[in-house]
């Protein structure tokens, strides 16, 4: 039974180095599943032997050496006992030798991120794969975040790893020709993680905040690995702008507060400042992308805190027009409607809303909430009620649902 101190040391090593260790091992073995298994064995061995042998000076070096031996043993199909203490004493010596070198082991996480978002990998598996291999999240937690049956998520992840191994997808940084597309896939996967965290606003749903934190960690990691890519800076800025407003999104009673009604004093100034600097740096590269545009939109929103509560909606409209040209997602189209309605009145917003293809919004809640809001402003009460009802029925978050129910009843009594 490991003591608390050992357990804490193992947990810290896992948190600090899991992704680096998996990346390093997988880049050499070319087998992600085997690398993960070997590392899991190494963690087990640590829990079993560190109480007696003591926590090594460089825990990650010890784990790396143990896992590497495991991989070699497996390749030889030899039966080994990782917990055998004499063998692990040797490990300790080897690990010390390794640790004395200046650069412990190269950081291969960038290659791992690109592997996870490789075009040969099923789109639905990319983000989960990243969360599991780079951040070490377990399949059950990933399944909850993605609303997928845990057994099915496990299979999806296993299939993706088999594909990487059997198709011999190379652990390499993509070439210049495929760079933009491959990088975008990595960014999208990270942003998807953030989106999952963002959609769950209520405190009761702790998966929300956790996942947002994980996404920010991935964003920071990517920026550290690619400090000069404007879209990487754009994505990190975008996430920070959104995260800065987290505490203002719910009132004291846990009720949903829309952006326009938020108390700007509750926004995190350090996060906004960091986002702002990132965005300025990105803009200097003069290579615009949709993450930079989305971050710029959020940047205009946060300026309200400085300029006496007024939002420069016309500026936001222009940015959305750029975004829609670059990436006409349903989210961008609905966002443009909202900005246009604020800048030029509800009728102008409604004109744009009507152009969104109905088949793309059957279950898209933000569309219905926006439609209801505009119809209410236009005095089309019956249609507004129908739209509110639809938005309520499609809501997942209790705070958002309660907010819309309130709007709905105000409309019927008012």
């Amino acid at each position: 039974m490991p003591d608390a101190e050992t357990a804490a040391a193992v947990e810290k090593a896992a948190r600090d180095s899991y992704g680096r260790l998996v990346a390093y091992l997988a880049a050499r073995s070319r087998d992600l599943a085997a690398a993960e298994d070997a590392l899991a064995d190494a963690f087990h061995a640590a829990l079993a032997t560190w109480p007696d042998l003591g926590v090594p000076e460089k825990p990650e070096a010890w784990l790396l050496v143990t896992a590497r031996r495991r991989l070699i043993d497996r390749a030889r199909h030899a039966k080994v006992h990782a917990e055998a203490t004499p063998a692990l004493r040797l490990v300790t010596e080897e690990a010390q030798a390794l640790a004395s070198r200046a650069n412990l082991f190269p950081d291969e996480r960038l290659k791992l991120l690109f592997i996870c978002a490789h075009p040969a990998i099923d789109v639905a598996a990319r983000t989960p794969l990243m969360l599991q291999t780079v951040l070490g999240l377990d399949a059950a937690r990933i399944a909850s975040a993605f609303l997928v049956k845990p057994a099915a998520m496990g299979q999806r992840l296993t299939r993706a790893k088999i594909k990487i191994r059997d198709a011999r997808i190379p652990f390499e940084i993509p070439e210049a020709a495929e760079w933009p597309e491959r990088l975008d896939a990595v960014l999208e996967a990270i942003y998807a993680t953030y989106g999952l965290g963002w959609n769950a606003v209520t405190g009761a749903e702790s998966r929300g905040k956790d996942l947002a934190t994980e996404a920010l960690a991935l964003g920071r990691l990517l920026w550290q690995l690619l400090p000069d890519e404007p879209e990487v800076q754009g994505l990190l800025a975008l996430m920070l702008y959104c995260e800065a407003r987290r505490d203002a999104r719910l009132d004291a009673q846990g009720g949903f507060v829309p952006l326009s009604g938020q108390d700007t004093r509750l926004w995190s100034e350090p996060m906004i400042n960091e986002a702002h600097h990132l965005l300025l740096r990105a803009e200097r590269a003069r290579h615009i992308g949709h993450f930079q545009l989305e971050a710029a939109i959020q940047s205009v929103h946060t300026r309200r805190a400085i300029f006496g509560g007024k939002t420069a909606w016309e500026e936001i409209v222009v940015l959305y027009e750029g975004l829609v040209r670059l990436a006409p997602t349903t989210g961008a189209l609905v966002g443009r409607v909202a900005a246009t309605a604020e800048a030029r009145g509800p009728a102008a917003g409604w004109e744009l809303l009507r152009q969104i293809p109905p088949e793309s919004v059957v279950t898209y809640q933000p569309y219905w909430a926006q439609a209801a809001h505009l119809l209410g402003q236009l005095g089309r009460v019956t249609e507004a009620r129908t739209a509110y009802e639809r938005a309520i029925g499609l809501s997942e978050d209790p705070a958002t649902r309660a907010f819309l129910v309130r709007k709905f009843s105000d409309l019927s009594t008012g």
Binding site: E389, G393, V405
Partner: protein, 118 residues
């Protein structure tokens, strides 16, 4: 594929139905959810159920009948209603399960409907 969403609520969840403060939003949300299912073309049936105190359970045994007051299982959460939906796969069924407007603390069990062999 048809799936049934079995909605289990605790006593606080059942109590919302008659709570003077929260009643209104409770009763506004369920028809809205049902309508969203209909508009999406996936609604295949369902019903809300009276609270478990109203239940009567018949135990089936060979030769003997046994009737008792109350629900079959004496658990903290009780079946409060169910929907049957027709969707392409389990992932979509789970999306709808997550939107069920039951009170926090409720459970939605998702089961594929049995397909009777032809």
């Amino acid at each position: 594929m048809k799936y049934t969403l079995l909605i289990y609520e605790n006593s606080a969840g059942f109590a919302l139905r008659n709570d003077p403060d929260k009643q209104q939003s409770y009763w506004a949300a369920w028809p809205a959810y049902t309508k969203a299912l209909q508009e999406a073309g996936v609604m295949a049936g369902g019903a809300g159920l009276e609270p478990p105190g109203t239940a009567t359970t018949v135990r089936l045994q060979s030769g003997k009948r046994h009737v008792q007051d109350g629900p079959y299982a004496d658990t903290k959460e009780q079946l409060g209603g169910f929907y049957t939906i027709d969707v392409p796969n389990l992932d979509v069924a789970l999306e709808w399960a997550a939107r069920v407007p039951a009170a926090p603390g409720s459970y939605v069990e998702v089961r594929p409907n049995l397909v009777v062999p032809a």
